[in-house]
């Protein structure tokens, strides 16, 4: 596959959870795509559905409460196009894709590594599961991977336990494990949130280097706009289960269209600018049992119009792939920004 080829098409993905209070629409008709070798950033605040979107792509929605109720996740792999949502989450086909072609790393590397096995055991398990290698070869490959993520003395480190690693080193080990089978897609769910800024910079630089070397596409999920600015080629902004804006990183940062994206960018403290912070009033609505039919951001939106409270906005596209789910951009009706 060449750089720029389409790898993933997510179309109208909806993932719901059954809770005691009713149906929770964690992901509500979200669409995006991913090309070979690029980095897509998914940004949003806690509870906006960004992690569940990623888990849906991996077919790892928490069972039995959650399920993918609509949409498609089309993966264009080496063996043709498959719809991931059509597979059972434990099926043989799914397991072949998961870890082998699409890998994932998580926020807290301590909880995703097993404390009673050595780092080497865990790396080798992943390698032997997906590749036809013997123990000795798998061990060699594991050591290579540790060296690749710049862990010194990889041979000795294979026999260490996760608790003997620092937070940054654990995340490196997780990356080594995720990349050990040369996946096409790496999904990183807040990979640096638990780390200090200096270690965060190390890990992000490492991910960029590995991407240049190995050519995988990355889906980077984070709440940190600074991380997105540094890593992503394109951005999907999520709010309350919706994808509210989708564009290139430059477009989102310099000419954002959705009032939420604009407000989010203004609320980050900027060094050297000591003016009062612009905050977004209120907080994210409770998504349990919400009656649809209005814009979930309207109560916090400074530019909300009558229609925003009466009708859900559709997604508008400007022909250059910059999409926005906001009535302000409606050409036909009231949209005051559509020009």
């Amino acid at each position: 596959m060449a750089k720029g080829d389409r790898l993933l098409d997510v179309v109208d993905l909806s993932t719901h959870f059954r809770t005691e209070e009713g149906i929770l629409r964690a992901v509500d008709r979200v669409s995006f795509h991913l090309d070979q070798g690029e980095t897509l950033g998914i940004v949003g605040e806690s509870g906006c559905g960004k992690s569940i979107t990623a888990k849906s792509v991996m077919n790892l929605v928490p069972q039995p409460r959650g399920s993918i109720v609509g949409g498609k996740v089309l993966y264009h792999g080496n063996n043709g196009t498959v719809d991931i949502t059509s597979y059972h989450h434990q099926s043989r086909e799914m397991r072949k894709i998961r870890g082998n072609e699409i890998s994932m790393i998580f926020q807290e590397p301590m909880t995703s590594l097993n404390p009673v096995f050595t780092i080497g055991d865990q790396l080798m398990e992943a390698i032997m599961l997906h590749q036809r290698l013997g123990r000795a070869q798998a061990r060699q490959r594991a050591a290579e991977m540790l060296a690749r993520v710049k862990i010194s003395n990889p041979e000795q480190r294979l026999d260490r336990y996760p608790h003997e690693f620092s937070g940054g080193m654990r995340q490196r080990a997780m990356i080594a494990m995720a990349l050990s089978c040369n996946p096409q897609i790496l999904i990183a769910d807040e990979p640096t949130t638990a780390l200090d800024v200096t270690v965060e910079a190390q890990i992000l630089n490492l991910m960029q280097d590995l991407q240049d070397e190995m050519g995988m596409a990355i889906i980077m999920i984070t709440h940190d706009l600074g991380v997105i600015a540094g890593m992503a080629d394109r951005v999907l902004v999520m709010y309350a289960g919706w994808g509210v804006e989708r564009a290139t990183t430059e477009q989102v940062f310099y000419t954002p269209k959705h009032p939420y994206a604009t407000a989010l960018l203004q609320s980050i403290p900027k060094i050297g600018v000591r003016k009062r912070l612009t905050s977004i009033p209120g907080s994210v609505p409770d998504l349990n049992n919400v009656e649809g039919g209005w814009c979930y951001f309207a109560p916090r939106c400074a530019e909300a119009m009558d229609i925003c409270r009466q009708k859900e906005p559709p997604t508008f596209d400007d022909d250059e792939g910059h999409t926005v789910k906001c009535w302000l951009w409606d050409k036909q009706q009231t949209g005051i920004k559509a020009g």
Partner: protein
Amino acid sequence: MSAKTILEVRNLKKYFPIQKGVFRRVVGHVKAVDGLDFVIREGECVGLVGESGCGKTTAGRSIIRLLDPTEGEVLFRPGEQEVDMAKLGKDGLKRIRQEMQFIFQDPFASLNPRMTVGRIVSEPLKIQGIGTQKERMSRAGALLEKVGLSASQMGRFPHEFSGGQRQRIGIARSLSLNPRFVICDEPVSALDVSVQAQVLNVLKDLQQDFSLTYLFVAHDLSVVEHISDRIFVMYLGKIVEIADSQELYESPRHPYTEALLKAIPIADPKLGRRREALEGSVPDPSNPPDGCNFHTRCRYATDLCRSEEPVLQGQQGNPEHQASCHYQNELQLAGYMARGAG
């Protein structure tokens, strides 16, 4: 600045013993805070920053005596008289906490889930025996309004509030006794970006309205810059640099500060592409390196740094800007502005 000193900390140390074996024999110490000296002046906001494990939270907790310091003095001057917080007994501490309060990091763990918000906010008044029940509740209501909640929410329980709202409740509680000095321990770290801005604005307004002095502990340099007048940078239990906030960002004097500034993520795709990363990680605080603590990760380190420990001292011609680096007068370090932002 001519304002009077409200807090003076001298040689503050907090060591945690490492115990081993059946008899819990002490085999060493984690030197979480290892000799802090600084003053805080009335009405200012001082930011205390550093990576996790550098001892910033332990420092805050040792000052207000949530932890008992191993050594050192904490001289607090709320009014005319001066008290050494480190030596106070139980009654003295209870009295002095009317003047010094604490805001906790985790808004989910620091509020009692079985108490109504009104009780939570008025609890300090009750402990101090101030006012009648009715007076206390009306004060709680007024405080909730002050932090942007409504007095009508007093009968609700913490779980009915979002993270940002809970942090406001914690702030209201810390202000119920009308303190002069508040230690904020990472008050916005657990909050979403849009909510962080709300809480930071509330803290800033309250500082004016109640003429408060803050010690603001944080790991996030951009948040600290926004709220602080001066900044203390900590590394491995020690303060490595003290400077006026703007000056610290423009012309740092310690290589560690420089490295921290280089690592700040910038929310601008043209500037934030690749950050220069500090190699390695923080050494084990139970076995700190010889000489300068930072020499294992410092790109400018020499033999002098590996053998001799620098002292925190003022710069030539600028005694207010202190750094503990042998070469602080020679090195030309790059500030944050050199990255093209700001």
